[in-house]
């Protein structure tokens, strides 16, 4: 009898150990393979579209640019910024989600679900209405502020509740805040007749990405992701629980502040380029954690790569699934993300 129980629990325990362990090999594989797949995805994405352009032409357009050839123009001005924008926002949203999930030990954390994206979006609506001539640099700063305000409201309401801050409560507060802010944004858009400028915000798309936006966004995203990687050791400790992290001598307040700032920068700058696209920050960190284990030193860079890959592929799907019409990227991601969310919301055990 006792032997039976031993054999019964043995494999289970081993499985748990495997799950808890970090897998550097898998992570390295993902980093290398993911980057190769990403390069392929970018190449395919650049050559596919309303006008099919052969890969050699793409190569020439990038390295031997000739402004007289229409195809070169299309690639330089339309497709490249778009796909690079996709790479950046994919990485940003995914890393932001990973940090949020790790720091708060909340499996449902995602900048879209927590009201951060809609806060940034509402700030953009206000900027379009009241300061239409603000340069993109200023726009991004307002988006950061909006993202911060959104997060503050959602966490504030979540923690006001009797019974404390639960993941589900945060999601519900986020959903209500998003409903409120998108209603207000729509009102602002109607009042100031800026519906055209704001149209991207509802649908969420990277079609209109411009080089100048990428140039301004890139340093922020780059520094923030580097910061996230630098912070990753502390995030791993926090993900074990705040008490444990404190016991190990960590100044948790400082780490949380730094993490929050990184999240706001990543989400805010991405929203100011593509609008409120959700679910990337939910799906990718879970997937990555499943693949590479619980060490955030691996989770964060792998999330960045996989997030970029997801957005590039989703955008490719959005452009090709219905020829001639562009399906909003946000809708495609929601269709992938919702079943995943439902699965997570149902799951009994929460492993972070």
């Amino acid at each position: 009898m006792s032997q039976q129980t031993a054999t019964g629990t043995g494999p289970l325990r081993r499985q748990n150990e495997v799950k808890l362990r970090s897998r550097p090999w898998a992570a390295t594989l993902i980093l290398v393979g993911g980057l190769i797949a990403l390069a392929l995805g970018i190449a395919v994405s650049v050559s596919f579209g309303a006008a099919d352009i052969k890969l050699p032409v793409v190569w020439n357009a990038i390295f031997h640019f000739n402004p007289d050839i229409t195809d070169h123009q299309i690639i330089r001005e339309l497709r490249l910024p778009r796909v690079l924008g996709g790479v950046m926002i994919g990485a940003s949203f995914a890393v932001a989600g990973a940090i949020m999930q790790g720091m708060t030990r909340n499996p449902l954390a995602d900048s879209g679900l927590m009201g951060i994206n809609s806060g940034a979006g509402f700030a953009l609506a206000l900027v379009f209405a009241f300061m239409p001539n603000l340069p993109f640099m200023g726009l991004i700063l307002y988006a950061f502020a909006g993202a911060g305000a959104g997060a503050a409201v959602v966490y504030g309401i979540g923690s006001l509740a009797k019974g404390g801050l639960t993941p589900e409560r945060l999601v519900l507060a986020g959903a209500a805040l998003s409903a409120l802010l998108s209603a207000l944004s729509e009102g602002v858009a109607l009042y100031f007749k800026i519906g055209q400028d704001l149209a991207f915000w509802y649908a969420g798309g990277i079609a209109g990405t411009k080089w100048f936006q990428l140039k301004i966004m890139f340093p922020w995203v780059f520094v923030a992701i580097l910061g996230a990687i630098a912070l990753s050791r502390s995030i791993t400790m926090l993900s074990l629980g705040e008490d444990i992290a404190k016991g190990l001598g960590q100044r948790t307040g400082l780490v949380k502040l730094a993490g929050a700032l990184i999240v706001l920068v990543l989400a805010g700058s991405s929203v100011s380029v593509v609008g409120a696209v959700g679910f990337i920050g939910l799906i990718i960190p879970h997937l990555t954690r499943y693949l590479v284990g619980v060490d955030y030193r691996w989770i964060i860079p792998c999330s960045a790569v996989l997030g970029s890959l997801l957005v590039v592929l989703a955008d490719l799907t959005a452009r090709t699934i219905i020829p001639q019409h562009e399906t909003p990227l946000g809708a495609i991601l929601a269709l992938i993300g919702v079943p995943f969310f439902l699965y997570l919301a149902r799951k009994e055990r929460r492993e972070l």
């Binding site: 507060a173 209500a176 919702v338």
Partner: protein, 346 residues
């Protein structure tokens, strides 16, 4: 002992009297907003003009504006407000969940998806067979409700309130996304329709929409009010209700069916207006107490008042452009939802 009993009766009686007063005041308010709403719009009608037109002595243009544009829209606002609010009241009662609302639970989105599919098979949005709309919406809403129930249900645990809401919110997001993808596939021009539907604009604004909605409201609303006693008993909890002789599962099923029907028929002719089913019943409970005999009619009136006021404000505030009623309702309802969320225990 005797005095005490008398006191209890008089308390009940006082509550009933107060409840009737509240209902009267609400009806008067609706009548007032009704009149204001008839005056509101791009083309202004003065009260004397309005009176003349109503008595059949106005110019053709005035008659056109009043009878063909404003009145049907006002009537529709009143009907869907009542439908959505009572639907929310029933859901809150059956699930014993303070935050339930057909919009938040994703049932409106399911109805909307089916409406969208039906509409997209016809060249012009208005050419769709109007009487089919509530029926098709009901099918969509019922399927969605079943799906949400199945997804939120767990063996040995049943349905936890928060998980139900969470599932509903997610399903609603998925349905909206599916709506965008599917309609783009069918007809790019329908995108505008989807956008206005999602924003919660009252789009069916002629008498035939009123006629298609009216039977649903006229049958289901009295049915639910007739079941008020059962709902009082259900509120006591499954075990107590069974002990008192109620066929709990059967009654819950019937009531939910009625609630889904009310919500579906309402959103079939309007946009996806959320939060009415949340705010209406809550205010009603505060005003007339938890007994459903009074609470349900009060919810209906409050819902009508809310949607009618929202639609009037939406037409008035940004003339000549309009703000969809759903946006105005969301601006009122979402903070209320947050407030309730902060108050309820997990």
């Amino acid at each position: 002992m005797k005095v005490r009993k008398q006191k209890a009766i008089s308390f009940d009686e006082a509550r009933r009297r107060r409840g009737l007063q509240v209902l009267a005041v609400l009806s008067a308010l609706i009548a007032a907003v009704f009149v204001i709403s008839m005056n509101t719009g791009y083309i202004h009608l003065t009260p004397p003009q309005l009176l003349h037109t109503l008595l059949g002595r106005g110019t053709d243009k005035q008659e056109l504006i009043l009878f063909d544009f404003r009145l049907p829209r006002i009537v529709i606002s009143i009907l869907i407000g009542a439908g959505l609010a009572v639907s929310g009241a029933v859901m809150q009662g059956v699930f014993r969940n303070d935050l339930a609302d057909p919009g938040i639970l994703g049932i409106n989105a399911g109805a909307g998806l089916m409406v969208m599919l039906l509409v997209s098979f016809y060249p012009a949005t208005t050419a769709a067979p109007v009487f089919m709309l509530p029926l098709v919406a009901f099918v969509g809403a019922a399927c969605t409700a079943a799906m949400i129930y199945a997804l939120a249900y767990k063996r040995h645990e049943g349905i936890s309130p928060i998980r139900l809401l969470l599932t509903g919110v997610a399903v609603a997001a998925g349905m909206s996304a599916a709506m965008i993808v599917l309609t783009l596939r069918l007809d790019p021009d329908k995108y505008q329709f989807v956008a206005t539907w999602l924003a919660g604009s009252i789009w069916g604004t002629s008498w035939k929409f009123v006629l298609s909605l009216l039977p649903w409201i006229l049958i289901l609303l009295p049915y639910v009010i007739y079941k008020a006693r059962v709902m009082n008993v259900l509120n006591l909890g499954d075990q107590t209700a069974t002990g008192l002789g109620a066929a709990v599962t059967k009654e819950q099923f019937r009531l939910l069916g009625a609630a889904v029907g009310l919500a579906a028929a309402s959103v079939a002719v309007s946009g996806g207006i959320g939060f009415v089913g949340l705010v209406g019943p809550h205010l009603a409970r505060r005003l007339v107490g938890p007994k459903h005999q009074l609470m349900l009619p009060a919810s209906a009136l409050l819902g009508s008042l809310l949607v009618l006021t929202a639609d009037t404000i939406g037409r008035w505030i940004l003339q000549p452009s309009e703000i969809p009623a759903g946006i105005v309702v969301a601006v009122i309802g979402a903070p209320y939802f947050l407030y309730l969320l902060a108050r309820t225990r997990s």
